[in-house]
Symmetry: C2
C-alpha cells in the first residue's frame, strides 16, 4: 500500500558514523563522470535533463547544483532562478514563465526553485482558495508528463531537507560573515516563521507528484552534495547518452 511521506520522519543529517572522507572519492568520481556524460548528451542531442532544486532558504540549492555539475561545460547546461514573479508573469498562467525555460534536446537545465513555488509560498500565504491549488497540482503533473513524452526530458526533483535549527545557524552566519552578507534577505526570517506550514505544503507536493521527489538530508553540505551527485549520476548512467557516429560514407 502507498504510504504518504512525513518529512519529520526523514533525516536532515548524514548517517551517524559516516565521515566526509568516506564518500569524497566516490563523489569526485561521479561528478567527473557527470561531466563526461553531459558532453555525450549534448552530442547526442535527442534528450534533455531538467533538475529542480527546492528547499527552504539557505538549504543550499545553488551550492548543491555547483557541486553536482562541477565538471559540465557551459554550452550544454544552464540554470534559471525563479524569483518573485514579474507583473507580466502574473498576467499569465503559473506555468508560463517556467515553460519557456525548459531544456532543449541535448541540454541540462537547472531550476533553482520552480513552478512548485506556486503551490508552496502561494499556498502557505493562502493567495488562492484550496481548490485552486488542487487544479495546479493536476496541471503540474500534466506538464511534467508533456515534457517527458514529447520532449524526451528526464526530470529530477530534489527537496533539500534542512532542519529548522541548521537553517537558523546559516541565516545568522549571513549576518556576520562578510563573504555571505550578500545572501542575506530579511524576508527569509519572515518565511521561517511559517516552518510548519511549509513542511505540510512540501509533504503535499511530494505526495501528489507523479514523478517522484528525492528528499536529500541537507544539514551536512558534504553529505547533501554526495547524495544529489549520486542521483544525477545514476540517472545519466541509466539514460546512457551516445555520441552519434557518421552514417555517411567515409572519404579515405
Amino acid at each position: 500500500m502507498y504510504k504518504p511521506v512525513k518529512i519529520s520522519d526523514l533525516p536532515c543529517e548524514a548517517p551517524q558514523g559516516l565521515k566526509k572522507n568516506d564518500v569524497e572519492k566516490e563523489r569526485e568520481e561521479m561528478a567527473d563522470a557527470i561531466g563526461e556524460m553531459q558532453r555525450l548528451l549534448y552530442a547526442e542531442a535527442k534528450r534533455s535533463l531538467l533538475v529542480i532544486f527546492q528547499g527552504m532558504d539557505a538549504a543550499g540549492k545553488d551550492g548543491t547544483a555547483g557541486a553536482v555539475f562541477r565538471w559540465c561545460v557551459p554550452h550544454g547546461i544552464s540554470a534559471y532562478s525563479f524569483k518573485k514573479p514579474t507583473p507580466l508573469e502574473l498576467a499569465h498562467d503559473f506555468l508560463w514563465r517556467a515553460h519557456v525555460h525548459t531544456p532543449e534536446k541535448g541540454y541540462i537545465k537547472i531550476f533553482n526553485r520552480s513552478y512548485y513555488e506556486d503551490v508552496l509560498i502561494q499556498r502557505v500565504h493562502r493567495w488562492f482558495p484550496e481548490e485552486h491549488f488542487e487544479l495546479r497540482f493536476k496541471a503540474i503533473n500534466a506538464f511534467e508528463e508533456l515534457l517527458s513524452f514529447d520532449a524526451h526530458t528526464t526530470i529530477i526533483k530534489f527537496f533539500l531537507n534542512i532542519s529548522e535549527k541548521r537553517q537558523g545557524e546559516k541565516l545568522r552566519e549571513r549576518l556576520v560573515n562578510p563573504k555571505k552578507q550578500w545572501k542575506h534577505n530579511a524576508g527569509d526570517w519572515e518565511e521561517r516563521k511559517h516552518w510548519g506550514t511549509y513542511m505540510a505544503c512540501y509533504e503535499d507536493v511530494i505526495n501528489k507528484s507523479v514523478i517522484p521527489w528525492h528528499v536529500i538530508p541537507a544539514d551536512d553540505e558534504w553529505y547533501r552534495n554526495y547524495c544529489a551527485t549520486k542521483v544525477v549520476y545514476d540517472t545519466l548512467k541509466a539514460m546512457d547518452p551516445q555520441r552519434p557516429v557518421l552514417s555517411a560514407p567515409r572519404h579515405d
Copy 2:
C-alpha cells in the same frame, strides 16, 4: 447520449435563401460592439481571450480574423501565425512554442493555426505512432484547462469548414489573380491530396476536445464572417468586461 461529429454532415455553405444583405447590418453592429468590448477587456485587465482559427489552406483564417476584429485597437490584440516549426521549436515539446504566445490579462490573441497542427498535419503524415497523438490530445486538454483556470483565458476554437471543391477554386484563383499570387504555395496542392485523412483527423480533434469547437461553414465569405463574428460577440457579451472605477477618494 454524446454523438460524435461527422464533418461530412456539416454544411460548408450559407443556408439556402439567406443573402448577404440579410445579415450585413447585424454583422456590422456586432463587429462594432466587439471593438467596444475589447477596450473594456483591456481596461479591466483581469481576463483574456484566445481565438484559434483552424481549417484547410484557403479556408479564410486571416480573412475571418480581419473581419471579426475589424474595430479592435492594436494595443490590446495581436495575432500569431504558426508556420513550419523551427529547429529550436522542434527541440522542445510541441506546446512550448504556443505557450509563450498565450495572451496576457486584458488581451485578445488570435492564433492562425495552432498546436492543433501537431495532431493534424503531423498525424496525416504519420510522423509519430498513434499512441503519441493520444498523449498529445490529453496534453492539449490539460493545457487549455490550465489557461482557463489559472490565467482566466476564454478559448474560442473555429474550424472553418470549406468544401474540397471551393478550396480548389480559391487555390486556382491564387495562380491567376495578381493580387493573390503572393498567397500561392505549391505545398497546398500536395496537402489537398490528403483531404479525406485531414477530415478524419479534424473529426478526432473536434470529438476529443473538452473545450468545444465552432464548425463554421466557410464556402461563402460573408456567411463565414457573420457566423464567426456572432460567436465572438456572444462570448465577449457573456464575459461582460468592466471598466474599473476609482476606489481612491476623489479630490474635488
